[in-house]
């Protein structure tokens, strides 16, 4: 768990402005506890007094992560339970939005339902965790599209053709493909964001979330392999790789010509790939152009500081 002194230090170093820093501290239960001296506050304020442009600090990064967690939580909540997050978990700074699409997967297998419910519970817990950590600086859930976005993604990947639609909630197999689209992105997003975090405490928390996302990705990739969906996953992987720019940061679930399983996508050193926030935005906006600010799963863009690819 976070140590109080370390958190105060981290927040003072990384907060964009005085108001944000205060809300961080208050949210962590530190401001009223007398743990923060006036001198410390004054120092931090002075350090940030000349900050004219948005600063990519820990708060900005965590809010970026919160945007992604909203998306995952909504996707899995609908898939597992047939409804999205309650409004109480969607409030915050920025422009709030609703969720388009989504419904419960018609599970035929209790095991598959268990998988979906466990992942849904994790993603909702991530939302709660980040919202608590960010307190009043937490961004609200932006508008999320779980309907047209998947069709656009599937068409772009060549999984379906123009004129067809893809509903990731229509079957257990479709659900796995939808989940695949998210999970590998989540892993690489947290890996890419980790070096940007100033706070070791937040870095530790992010590592914890990354590990859980990696567990999820492993589950999904394994199930997709068992279902024989390597062709579709390969196409989705290629599409992600195309959207995020140069370099190969993505792999399908098989390797070689003999359908050998490739359940753990890694580089030559068996390290997970990483993506910058901009590369992640290219994927979730379904647009590989630099400077894109909305589209795809976020029709109105993200909330917070990090919104442009």
């Amino acid at each position: 768990m976070f140590k109080k002194s370390l958190i105060v230090d981290m927040i003072n170093r990384s907060s964009t402005n005085e108001a944000e820093r205060r809300t961080f501290l208050k949210g962590m239960g530190l401001l009223s506890a007398g743990a923060v001296g006036a001198g410390l506050l004054g120092t931090a304020a002075a350090q940030r007094a000349d900050a004219a442009d948005p600063v990519i600090d820990d708060g900005a990064i965590l809010n970026f992560a919160l945007n992604l967690e909203y998306l995952e939580a909504e996707f899995y909540s609908f898939a597992a339970y047939g409804h999205g997050l309650p409004n109480s978990l969607a409030t915050g700074a920025g422009t709030p939005g609703g969720v388009t699409g989504g419904h419960r997967v018609p599970f035929k297998s209790k095991a598959m339902r268990y998988y979906a419910e466990e992942i849904a519970n994790d993603e909702v817990a991530h939302v709660k965790f980040l919202r608590t950590a960010l307190s009043t600086t937490a961004v609200s859930r932006p508008a999320i599209n779980l309907q047209d976005s998947f069709t656009a993604a599937a068409q772009a990947a060549g999984v379906i053709t123009a004129g067809q639609t893809f509903d990731p909630f229509a079957s257990e197999q479709a659900f796995l493909l939808g989940a695949f689209l998210f999970e590998d992105v989540g892993v690489t997003a947290y890996k890419g964001a980790a070096p940007l975090l100033a706070s070791k405490e937040y870095l530790g928390a992010a590592a914890g979330i990354l590990a859980v996302e990696a567990y999820h990705a492993g589950i999904v990739r394994t199930l997709l392999y068992q279902e024989g969906l390597e062709v579709e996953t390969g196409k989705i992987s290629d599409a992600r790789d195309s959207l995020d720019g140069a370099g190969d940061k993505d792999q399908g679930i098989t390797v070689g010509t003999g359908d050998r399983a490739n359940l753990v996508p890694t580089d030559a050193n068996s390290l997970a790939f990483d993506r910058t926030p901009q590369q992640v935005l290219n994927i979730v906006y379904l647009n590989g152009a630099a400077g894109t600010t909305k589209g795809g799963f976020y029709p109105n863009g993200l909330n917070g500081v990090i919104t442009s690819s």
Binding site: F78, A80, Y81, G82, H83, G84, P86, N87, G98, V99, T100, G101, G102, H103, R104, V105, P106, F107, K108, S109, K110, A111, R113, E117, A120, N121, L146, Q147, V159, I160, Q164, T165, F166, D167, P168, F169, A170, S171, Q173, A174, L177, Q226, E227, G228, L229, E230, V231, E232
Partner: protein, 347 residues
């Protein structure tokens, strides 16, 4: 004979993906619904058969997308009291037949869904052998769950899943059916079977089923007038959800559904509380289970009643869009004035 649907299967990529093609998210609550929570989502037909079909269409709006259907006699719903659990195992709707004939609307819905597997709940006196043969002759697989009485039928249904033991079991009165119906959406969504009992003794079939299931978490539905404390002890029950009447018990089940079973705190459904409306409550289970909507009962006379009114008012801070207020059944079961009263209660 029973059939195992739990066996892991390798589904070809093409076939698997086709399931997701050409479909739209039609059962989701509309994100851009009109401002203000209201009981304006009514699922109803001209009779119980068409109401069941309307519920099925809401559950599976796309043609050819449900291979499974659970069939219950439309006038002997006590046999189908526990069908919600069976339907939930396959994410299936519940449709009604008569004993020796299938209403045209039901037959059309079976065709529309593209049903391949028919799961009958009830003996041949409820769904005749002739109907079973006709479905088999048309190429469908048919499995019947039936016993010598309602308790035995419930016990047979409860053991339908041969691979996974249920995490929890509900036990309700076999003669006061409202409590079991209130739990139907949870039974559907979470695959918790519903066993039936007498108030002061545990039927042998129920006891045997509990032994076979080996599920230690056993929740009794209803107060001591329908399941006595002694029976509770005999059942080795671990909790009880009960109110002062069926309406009140339904509110306890609803609270439990939201607090413990991931149901939607922002949605709620309303079903007629008269005995004759039980058919609507049963077919509501798949739709409400699929969207995580707990259900409440009106009073027996169709009015909202003090208990449900008070409960809705107490929940008005939670009930909000994009959640929905659902009504299951026609205007006789839940009059328009009752829907308006329910809306007023949450304003």
């Amino acid at each position: 004979m029973t059939r195992n649907h739990r066996t892991a299967r390798a589904i070809g990529a093409g076939a698997a993906l086709l399931v997701g093609l050409g479909t739209v998210a039609a059962t989701a609550a509309p994100a851009d619904a009109a401002t203000g929570f209201a009981f304006d989502q009514r699922i109803a037909g001209t009779d119980r058969y068409t109401t069941a079909v309307e519920a099925s269409k809401r559950l599976s709006p796309m043609d050819g997308t449900s291979e499974d259907v659970v069939i219950v006699n439309g006038t002997a719903t006590v046999d189908g009291l526990t069908a919600s659990y069976l339907a939930g195992l396959y994410s299936a709707p519940i449709l009604y037949t008569q004993t020796d004939s299938v209403p045209a609307v039901t037959a059309a819905e079976i065709t529309r869904l593209g049903v391949k597997n028919v799961w009958i709940v009830g003996g041949e006196a409820q769904v005749s052998a002739g109907l079973e043969k006709a479905w088999k002759d048309s190429g469908k697989e048919v499995v019947r769950y039936a016993g010598a009485n309602r308790y035995a039928t419930a016990a047979a249904v409860a053991q339908a899943d041969e691979n996974f033991p249920p995490e929890k079991v509900f036990i309700a009165s076999g003669t006061s059916t409202a409590d079991a119906l209130a739990a139907g959406p949870i039974a559907w969504a979470k695959n918790y079977p519903i066993l039936l009992t007498q108030a002061d003794s545990v039927p042998a079939e129920t006891s045997a089923a509990l032994d076979a299931l080996e599920t230690p978490t056993r929740t009794v539905l209803g107060g001591t007038s329908v399941v006595s404390d002694a029976t509770y002890a005999s059942l080795k029950a671990t909790s009880r959800l009960a109110g002062t009447n069926r309406q009140d018990t339904a509110t306890k089940v609803a609270d439990y559904a939201v607090a413990s079973e991931n149901f939607d705190p922002q949605s709620v459904g309303l079903v007629g509380g008269a005995a004759g409306a039980s058919a609507d409550a049963l077919v509501a289970a798949p739709v409400s289970g699929a969207q995580g909507v707990p259900v409440l009962f009106t009073d027996a006379n169709g009015s909202l009643g003090a208990t449900t009114t008070t409960y809705l008012t107490s929940r008005k801070a939670d009930l909000a869009e994009p959640g929905n207020g659902w009504i299951f059944g026609g205007l006789t079961a839940v009059p328009a004035a009752t829907a308006a009263a329910a809306t007023a209660a949450v304003q």
